[in-house]
Symmetry: C2
Subunit: 397 residues, 2 copies
């Protein structure tokens, strides 16, 4: 019989997707260039030319089996080695080939990480505001995701609420910095305090608590901002990375799990990923993409447009009277709405062809997200609409 | 804490992989060209040139976002449409876009199919000889795989044993034709009788029993053999396909789930695949590979070498006195060993640098598998070794 659990999920439609559908429908009416669609986090800049050139060169010169043959289960060895070397050089952590497991983007990496350290019924804690897909990602493993309420002044960690929620069933903590949706980067002080708390709680509960770090936005960090590497602060840490945003190839599904060499049983964990993968459908990243990415590991797309857009939007939002934490990275900004219910606020914005996403979805009611991975020219054209929206709907703000 | 279930799996090493490792080690000693490695089912012929040309053309002419952007969750619409049209044309079943879900190879497709129709504790039945990875694929969903013993005269279905094993907890039947490891193609009579049994048992138990068909070898069918389409025989059927073997690109992880349009709630099942995918790590096949494969749907690699190899081996095996069902397709042959314990038989063969896989692994003790996806020249060079092995070890056969 058809499994009810998945059938039931069909009725719950994502708010973000509904808004994106509105934007597409409205675009069909008035031209998509006239819809200020800030709903979706799709990279807007092209892949580096070196990536394309590498792909073409491989296809012209390498053998079919070398390019398209089965990848070893944990990923192509030379690719894992290159990633380990690049991470060591950059972060000073002695990663080796055997600490790297290739996965289909950060989502694929997380699917393995959760299963490494939680059994059904165990708890994973994350911090609002958070990426709402974490719910199905975790729930469908049988573990339970619990969300620590936000610290809305800075969008760092609300440690008081965290200490109240962590308990003996907490097996892992999931962090996402630079953060979707806030754009905030966790400071060294935040990560230090988090690590101390986890060390203390691991002792108190008599079991390891793992720190799982979702890092798809690691390369999108703005001028003057320091983005500390999460794994440097805590031994039992598992890095989940994706090349989707840094190289603008989200459709190619490539990323990795990097288990901290200082983690207990680090190499065992990587081998366990291979076993987990058998149950998930051997979803190794595509061979040719693994090989090509390894050639451009230290390159990124031209990510500067995101910072340009952020600065334009931040300045305008502040001048319009919004309260807003200045993003340190990503392509998101997360201001406070001008009325209590951000859902109503975002609904009103649609009249001005502004597509904004209410923060409720991200565990932070009263705020809204703008994904500014769009052309700068369009960001600039959206400013009069934003001003008109605010001045018309909130004249006495 | 580290999850014991996956840690325990690390000690159970696959027999096939151990043999492949032996072959690699022996190859380092005497030259791999001198090891007659029949252990691994890796395609040995190149991708069609049209595929490579399409990839290069796309990379040279299409935009980065078009090639590498996010794929919609069920797969790129135009690709699903092209696959549906191709299936309809070929098999006369009215597939439409909404019946196709793109998956990472047959393993990825099966990971979705199992979860569509079984809950933990439910049973899936399959028929020996069978692909041993079905065990972790099914076990890790929480369902239970039960294996019906083989009908060793023909390697069609042992219906008597099947009728004894099917029961009210059986929610799905898993078939693989053309079959790994036997090379046998299920006849229309076999599939007809299977469908009748399932219809009768569905009524008896008061719930649908789904027929899941794993078809990676569909395009490798030999001259004069008819390979009936499983889905034509039974409405509640789910086809799991991979392009790994037909296009020789196993590393690129591309295949699909095709739900029979006549299946109850067919379109709901495809939408449920999208939900399942959220729990498995959004392992959509890579965008560029989806687009390129859609351009060569009705092409295959030059698969004729497999038939050439089969004919050479079959003739030699028969002349050496082996009992052997002649394969109708795939790149496997599955003769009876010359002593009762095929593990000992295969162990002895290693002395002659012949790497054969005992049938115990495939649920058919006493038989052994040869994967002849290797150069014909090497098959020919292996014949004297095979003859020497048989004449030396089994002089009185």
């Amino acid at each position: 019989m058809i499994v009810q659990k998945y059938k039931d999920m069909l009725s719950g439609k994502s708010v973000i997707r509904q808004l994106a559908e509105f934007a597409a429908a409205r675009g069909a009416e008035i031209g998509y260039e006239n819809v200020f669609d800030y709903s979706l986090g799709n990279p807007s800049v092209p892949v580096p030319q070196e990536f394309t050139d590498t792909m073409i060169n491989f296809l012209q010169t390498r053998s079919s089996n070398e390019l398209h043959g089965y990848s070893p289960n944990p990923g192509i060895t030379s690719v894992r080695q290159a990633i380990a070397a690049s991470l060591e050089k950059r972060f000073g952590i002695p990663y080796r080939t055997e600490h790297i497991f290739m996965a289909t983007g950060a989502a694929g990496a997380l699917a393995h990480a959760f299963r490494l350290v939680t059994e059904p019924g165990d708890e994973i804690l994350t911090f609002a505001p958070f990426f709402p897909e974490y719910h199905p990602y975790v729930d469908l493993t049988g573990a339970v995701l619990r969300v620590v309420p936000p610290e809305t002044e800075t969008f760092q960690i609300n440690f008081q609420a965290f200490e109240e929620m962590i308990g003996p069933k907490t097996m892992a903590i999931l962090v996402n910095t630079p953060n979707n949706p806030s754009g905030v980067v966790y400071s060294a002080a935040t990560l230090e305090r988090l690590a101390q708390t986890l060390t203390r709680k691991s002792e108190e509960y008599g079991h390891d608590i793992f720190l799982i770090s979702d890092e798809p936005y690691r390369e999108i960090v703005f001028d003057g901002v320091e983005a500390p590497c999460v794994s440097k602060f805590y031994d039992n840490s598992i890095m989940c990375y994706s090349f989707s945003k840094s190289l603008s190839l989200p459709g190619e599904r490539i990323g990795y799990v990097a288990v901290n060499p200082a983690c207990r049983d680090a190499e065992v964990l990587v081998n366990m990923c291979v076993q987990i993968s058998r149950g998930l459908g051997h979803n190794c990243p595509p061979s040719i993409i693994q090989l090509a990415v390894a050639e451009v590991l230290d390159k990124t797309s031209d990510l500067s447009v995101y910072e340009t857009n952020m600065n334009i939007l931040y300045k305008e939002l502040i001048s319009l009277g919004f309260t807003c934490v200045k993003p340190g990275g990503t392509f998101y900004i997360f201001p406070k709405a001008l009325e209590e219910d951000a859902k109503i606020f975002c609904q009103k914005a649609l009249k001005y062809d502004l597509v904004l996403v209410p923060g409720d979805t991200f565990g932070a009611p009263g705020f809204f997200r703008m994904a500014y991975c769009i052309d700068t020219e369009k960001v600039e054209r959206s400013l009069p609409a934003l001003r008109k929206f605010v001045e018309t709907e909130y004249p006495n703000r």
